[in-house]
Symmetry: C2
Subunit: 306 residues, 2 copies
């Protein structure tokens, strides 16, 4: 495939950016990949690993002459970085990001971008519980969705170019309105993460059940929670602080429903529980049918069908 952008600058070199670099290389999507990170240790690691053509010390240097700038940093760091790179952006460049919330990123970044720069916020729905430059791999985005939230004044041709770029890395691209993005993600990602963190914290606190017991007997249910609750703490702190309204709304609904089920347990209302559990089973079938997960039992771990 011919390069879609002549020069791509990755600001931040964690799981997402390093996976993008591997995927860009594998598919020949970028003429040159320039990377930078705040931490000198990360920059050194990436220089040694070699998945960027150049590693610069500052974000300002990295964006010089870049046709696409990817902000792959925690949401809380977006504002100062946008302020730093704004004056150095090439006219006609596209700026995107990979943050899990979009309203807060737009508020933090947009004011610092000069006229003639195209701002197309983005969010690849892909990740693992690992973080850092060594955790990236080229297939991370394959058959996963990337949501783009183009700002009003961006030409369609530029949105099309970024769309083809993500498609080149294997992603399915969808366009979405910013407020809707933040609500959908509060439901499908942010609130589930908070709940998983909480449940793992409760288990850790309980003195009558030791940590080693929790760990040993985690097979049935708890294990999936611990995977979710092992995600990057900085990133998730920023997600919750920056998608406050939608998360609090969904949490409120969650608590309300949980209390209804708790009451059914207390009063012995088996019919309510059975009906509820039957309804939720159908959603799972939809996910398997939509190709977003495998039907293999237990995701294929712990044995295969004989």
């Amino acid at each position: 495939m011919a390069a879609i952008y002549d020069r791509v600058a990755l600001i931040g070199l964690g799981l997402i950016a390093s996976s993008m670099a591997h995927a860009m290389r594998a598919e020949g999507l970028a003429g040159e990949i320039v990377g930078t990170a705040r931490s000198a240790e990360t920059r050194e690691t990436v220089s040694e690993m070699g998945f960027c053509d150049r590693v610069t010390d500052t974000a300002a240097e990295a964006v010089e002459g870049a046709d696409l700038v990817v902000l792959a940093i925690p949401v809380g760091a977006m504002n100062p970085v946008a302020r730093e790179i704004g004056p150095h952006l090439k006219p006609g460049a596209t700026v995107t990001d990979v943050g899990s919330v979009k309203r807060a990123v737009i508020d933090a970044v947009a004011p610092h971008l000069p006229e003639g720069v195209h701002f197309i916020p983005g969010h690849p729905l892909a990740g693992t519980e690992h973080s850092g430059p060594k955790s990236g791999f080229a297939e991370l985005f394959e058959n996963r969705f990337t949501i783009l939230v183009p700002q009003e004044d961006v030409p369609e041709a530029e949105v099309g170019k970024l769309t083809r770029f993500w498609q080149g890395m294997g992603a399915n691209v969808e366009l979405m309105d910013v407020e809707h993005h933040d609500l959908v993600l509060a439901v499908t990602s942010h609130t589930p993460h908070l709940i998983a963190y909480t449940m793992v914290g409760v288990a850790d606190d309980l003195r009558r059940v030791t940590d080693s017991e929790v760990i040993k007997y985690s097979a049935a249910g708890f294990r999936d929670f611990t995977r979710i609750a092992a995600s990057d703490p900085t990133m998730w702190r920023d997600v919750f602080l920056n998608n406050k309204e939608a998360t609090l709304e969904i949490l409120g609904r969650f608590t309300e429903e949980l209390f209804a089920l708790q009451r059914a347990i207390r009063t012995g209302n088996g019919e309510l529980l059975f009906d509820y559990f039957t309804r939720t089973r159908a959603i799972r079938r939809g996910i398997v049918e939509a190709g977003q997960d495998t039907d293999a039992p237990n995701f294929g771990r712990g044995g295969s069908k004989s």
Copy 2:
């Protein structure tokens, strides 16, 4: 391996019992496998599949002459089945079960067992989101824990025999006190399941986010919840109704912690969130080190490291 029990009777022929049959066959642990199920359709399916040597119409027939009787039925069905089989049990036979709660099973079953029958309640910590006789596979118990809760008057030799039987199917066997079992499982399995069911229900209810959106964008976090929430509704109704006290206790603690985190989000207390998320990450490492899960990102689905 020489057969450990000459005749094993499986009462109920769902995921667990069918997996046990496949594993017993693969390892030669039973001289003869007799099975029965309440549903005629299930009995017919199993007769066709052939993983039992004989399928009987009633539980009373199935247990005739059996050396090991396995109650693999929902906890709510234990009492009438125990009443039915009690008079037909062979003197010196061992009765066990695979229920997810233990106090309630003991209360339901023990009064109906005659003198000279050994009652060793059990709980294999293994499962998938699938159910029914076609969902079983021989490797289900491999490297998973099975907890045995031997009753006071059972000879050690009989506990040893059942232990070797489970080990033969690949399980790690642990002995535990009944009340402790029910508390540990409330933390590691029952409460996480209720929470997952609730979160999936909330997503389904929210009218501004369509089911198809929930399904499409489930990659980040929500997907694991839907797998958990797809488990068998009858089994889980019975779990909650029969482990009421421990589940309600853990739910109370969960809600308390969730409110603390919710408050931190509302007040913008990023430090509290960061510290909490950092602590929970350590538990995940323990699980990977204990060999109860893989360190492969995203369980190896959606791509492997390149």
